[in-house]
Symmetry: D2
Subunit: 388 residues, 4 copies
């Protein structure tokens, strides 16, 4: 019972997912950071298998996956030989590549053969590899939701669809064509599980689109801290959250064209959890290469306690940014496959509320992580996915 | 529908409870720090009324309550004139007064008339004042649980019962004699809700004994942080938690004879929540008068994330120690009265799990605060106490 | 022996200087935060007297100084009645007012009568009040140094001189006209003590121009931390310094047009002290009104210690921003008057190196504060200003 | 021009010194953490050579030095093959070994042959190896200063001299006998450079005894922070400093018998630098094995700034404890040899004030590190030791 996984983007999260997965399969890694490792689910980690990987960085496209990983993960993680022998394939740049050239030399299928044919090409490859689950792990992009299927199609014609939207559409086509449900897990901020149009398309294809924006880093912790305060009816005077890192994700966010999406998903938690919009400054703030992937987070929260007095909480963190999401991905893959097996269609809020910063469908609130966790457990039990 | 409240101990928590309560009644204070302020419960804050207060500090006993408060709360909190005109009564020292003389001049009823008569005297006063709810807010004491009712009685004879145990027994007698249920809320670490003997006695008296050790400060937050880590299956390498303050509670804890109790209730959360006993150092650490009641907390937690890498979380807090518990007390009073009305007897784990650091009955686990909160809500709904 | 002080800008620093000074004169304030309070200098604090104050905020110009202070300093500081009865005068907007209208309604003398006449009007007032020392405490402005006296004059004609430059020139004219040395102390980032042209003009007027940018907040502390590391030959991997506040100074800095100056003076210390340009992110980062004047600072520094291992230092601060500079101003006034008495002309690096973030004259390095402090002491002794 | 170094104690500091030194000699390590690496001194690092090493841990005595290092330094530091082939020799336990047996199995020469003969045996070995400089790096011991040479001698007779005192006396004898000056560098808290008797003995032997207690960790930084505050006349309300680590040094300090010395040297800086004894809690606080040698330090300082307002500074550090002192040792060795060459005798305050927490001779004050650094530079220039 293998789960075939396709991945868009072979950056740090992608590489940590692949490396960790094959270490888990080899039995040389403890599954720390994999939320449901101790639960009995229909699939094991060892059932996951990476079958196709895309990128648009000239230094990666056409290169051996394992070599690219060795070159890029330069922290103390052994790279297992069991990583499959795959060449990274050329992906789609679409209408969202502005600013990428400040980070690497971007090359795309669509530059050669146009967006429409490029999407078809990806669709063919996904069918050929008979993927079950697809992970979207490309660089953050600025993107506007499509208004309708017509809008989507005319944007394809004009080459104005974003890369994520193009991948989500190619995956939909593959599911339709092959009559085989596929789960598209969108870990980046682009609104896909938050797009009514895409959710409808995936229903039509008996598939699921899950997202948006993987819930790791300071934001889920902030959510639980706010819940903690809310439950004591403390009145939050303000929240400050700084983030600085040295990976290319932070570099991308320091390019003004690419930053906007992130800020939005990070701030929505305040109002959703507290019930009022406490003054806040929550932002990826800067980039220093030497910080590497272990980002520095600093938070300051003041609140009014009983008798009108003021308390203060300061949090400082050093967090390995990409492994955090990679660990979630391990469970996201096997759970989303189980959801498909149980006949889920469209999107699944209970999944998204735990795994994502901006849980789809549209207009659904952010809840604290701890609540989302117990809701998800209950949901998985009800759907007979969780078996203990 | 008044709730008559008796209080053992007129220290900082007690005084913040009284001051805040009468400001709430006057409508000059927002109920921040009162957990269920926005929920509909059978009683309002304004139904609570303080009718009798005890202490053993020579500088307080026999003095006007309002004057004592004015002299002692020297932060920026207005002291309302509506605080009832009560003289603080002389309490019991019992067998747990070792070391108190390093803080103030202790005087006790039992010194004059012996422990047995002193208990009777308190019982009479509680009946006379027809108290519904009693709060135990005396200084932390070192105390050993009683083994049986006989043991309890022989300790009374020998004057070896601790002050808290003596108060809990006097309250039990008052309930029995007057055939009127009373709730004893034990906010200090002495094992009362964790004592099988006391829980049985309270059942017999159709009353409840709730406790032990009010859940405020860094420990409940630590509980929720550990839950957060646990839900992501991160492996905690160690936990450090320092606490330093300048109130007499910290002064008491810096006296070796009086410290032992606290350490125990603070550490039990680690194993209960994580499932393994992560190495930890969790202690009230020191006393500096100038820090006052706004204690300084410092925490350091390291864990293993996905792919075997190490993350670190540092938390620093400045917390108004006593108001935090005083805010909980406001709700504890009206909820425990509602529990009596609904016929609860003995102790109530759901209540204790949220309000207390060491929730009784004995051997029941600590759970994260966020879980305890939702469990309590559900419980209150089921018992038709929570009406929205 | 009175020192007559004129002030440009009646914002928070200015108001804290005035309030604190008159509390010191009344003997109701301990001189904490005044560096040389315990040293014997030719003048006492009590010799300082505020004689004229300017602003361009419609809500302040023409209003009674004491009333404006009462309205604006809403922290726990008593406002003494001895503050002189002065109306705040209308200042110059000059060529540097872009963006100010996002903070308040700006009005300037130069709008009515043109820049040239406005400067003359200020000159007349300074002479009339026979000021000895002038403090520049206006909002941060973007400004370019003048290239020559001709350039300065043609900018006046075209109305393109910045407000600070206009004030510095008006002060120069007052000194020339009245043949009385005046000290111009520039506490804001505009390059005046770093301007060769202005330093020459002040020499000509037997006066001094001291600056630039008052050394308070996280930057002087960072300087001393870097010196500490340097002296142990630790290799700094990177430095992060976030600053967020809620005063109008931070509001101004959050307006892009007004931010540039500050970043420059804050970063220069790294290379000057370490000898290499360690990667750094040092910035006023954000504005949240509720934080008020007590800004939040967060720093993260990593370095390589012996045997190639990595240490980390995290600093969090809550600092009353404006009082810090106001305390320095008290000593800056009496020392700069003493410098005039001793015949100093132009600018004085030893003074600037301690009191300023960007010490003039141009191209002089930043040194650590502790070194600057001892250098200044030595200098003051040599000049017979320091008498113990 | 070789400097022959003997070492008492082969714990973490000792092993990091040796490892780092031979990496420096091999040219495979940058001299970060070696304060005067960039200065021109009479000796280079490469002139230092370890000739004899002592310990009393059964697991170390008689074992090959390099093997012991490999077994014990389990962080990411390569152990060079060039480390000399030496067996660790059996040292003296003396009268200060109480509690050591909780850490390892202690064995001593004096147990076999008595203290007097054991001292002679060490003396012989030091002469045989013709050591120039001796480092004292044994576990912290509780020790009382000797009152006179007679007192010292009678304590030897009774076996009551502490190990450090015994080593210092053996070194003195070696210098006397061989008529060759030796420098004894005492990096532990035992009062040797603070002992009038020992300083006199070393004068007599034309030698120097330098100490006491190597200045690394949070204390030197605290010194410089206090200096920074002092120079601005800020009034320190209180200082909290927690330290927790997982090396055997912390383990030793968690044994009550061995802790007292440390607290004393750590607190003296407050009064010496501020001029008043600000309330403080400065202590090694706890031991958690998993923290390892990279200790966690947390500090909280509040002060009164101008206008009576309160600022707060929180510092959190992760510091490699032992390498910090090892880096100082590299320079201490070559500078103390140069001091001998220049004819220094007794002790040298200028050296101690920078390198030591409790600089001898007795009753000399602690000054801030930054001041001590510049004083030392000046002193070294005056003595023609520093040549640039
Ligand atoms: N903890 C986390 O790291 C975290 C949390 C939430 C969301 N995310 C999101 O996950 C994504 C990946 O993060 P990362 O740290 O791996 O970033 P990364 O910069 O290391 O990797 C992104 C990769 O995507 C590639 N790419 C860019 N555009 C592409 C396209 N059109 N088609 C195919 N590949 C493309 C890039 O070349 C790069 O290899 C980001 O969007 C990030 O915002 C990450
Ligand atoms: N956040 C919190 O402050 C918090 C949290 C959990 C538990 N607690 C517990 O609450 C209790 C009260 O805390 P506090 O801050 O008010 O302490 P406190 O020291 O200010 O007050 C204790 C009061 O109890 C009095 N007292 C002592 N022995 C007595 C006796 N035998 N009979 C009657 N009065 C007696 C003392 O004289 C004093 O007035 C402590 O035991 C503390 O451990 C407090
Ligand atoms: N610790 C500190 O607060 C600190 C440290 C270094 C430098 N500074 C500098 O000091 C200056 C004052 O700081 P603040 O906190 O008082 O700011 P603020 O915003 O409270 O006050 C500035 C005042 O200047 C007035 N102003 C603006 N333009 C003017 C003009 N052309 N003429 C006359 N008045 C004018 C404004 O109306 C306002 O009243 C700022 O430039 C700041 O960068 C402050
Ligand atoms: N940064 C620092 O690590 C630092 C700073 C200041 C002072 N110090 C002092 O330096 C000393 C060494 O620190 P460490 O981290 O290496 O400690 P450690 O515990 O790792 O090493 C001490 C060694 O001394 C040995 N020893 C104990 N008694 C002895 C004796 N009588 N004769 C010979 N050897 C003996 C022990 O067996 C052990 O090998 C300690 O006293 C410590 O207080 C260390
Ligand atoms: Mg990332
Ligand atoms: Mg308390
Ligand atoms: Mg300011
Ligand atoms: Mg050590």
């Amino acid at each position: 019972m293998t789960i075939k996984v396709g991945i868009f983007g072979s950056g740090l999260v992608s590489m940590h997912y692949i490396t960790g997965l094959y270490r888990l399969r080899e039995g040389t890694l403890k599954p720390y950071g994999v939320p449901f490792a101790d639960f009995k689910l229909p699939y094991n980690f060892t059932d996951e298998e990476v079958v196709t990987v895309y990128d648009v960085d000239e230094d990666k496209v056409g290169h051996e996956l394992r070599e690219v990983i060795k070159r890029n993960i330069n922290v103390d993680v052994p790279i297992p030989d069991s990583i499959p022998q795959l060449k990274i394939k050329k992906g789609i740049l679409g209408g969202s590549s502005a600013g990428l050239d400040k980070i690497f030399k971007p090359i795309g299928l669509d530059q050669e053969i146009g967006l429409e044919d490029a999407i078809e090409e990806i669709t063919r490859d996904l069918k050929r590899s008979s993927v079950d689950v697809v992970l979207n792990l490309i660089s953050t992009e600025n993107v506007e939701d499509v208004k309708s299927v017509e809008d989507l199609k005319s944007r394809i014609k004009e080459g104005r669809l974003s890369a994520s939207q193009a991948y989500a559409f190619a995956t939909y086509l593959a599911a339709i064509d092959s009559k085989k449900p596929i789960a598209f897990v969108n870990f980046i901020p682009s609104p896909l599980a938050n797009s009514d149009v895409f959710v409808e398309l995936y229903k039509e294809a008996s598939s699921v689109i899950l997202g948006d924006d993987g819930a790791t880093g300071a934001t889920p912790l902030t959510a639980d801290l706010l819940e903690h305060l809310k439950e004591r009816n403390r009145y939050v005077r303000y929240i400050v959250q700084f983030n600085i890192g040295g990976n290319t994700d932070f570099l991308a966010l320091s390019i003004p064209e690419r930053n906007l999406m992130k800020e939005k998903t990070k701030s929505s938690i305040v109002k959703d959890i507290l019930g009022y919009d406490a003054p806040h400054y929550i932002k990826p703030t800067g980039y220093i290469k030497e910080i590497g992937d272990r980002k520095f987070v600093s938070m300051d929260i003041e609140w009014i306690t009983f008798n009108g007095l003021i308390d203060e909480l300061i949090v400082n963190m050093r967090i390995n940014d990409s492994p955090a999401l990679a660990g979630l991905a391990v469970d996201a893959v096997r759970i989303s496959k189980a959801l498909l097996d149980k006949g889920e269609r469209g999107t699944v809020y209970e999944f998204n509320a735990f795994f994502m910063k901006n849980p789809g469908p549209k207009h659904m609130p952010n809840i604290s992580r701890i609540r989302a966790y117990y809701n998800l457990l209950e949901y998985l039990k009800k759907r007979e996915i969780l078996m203990n």
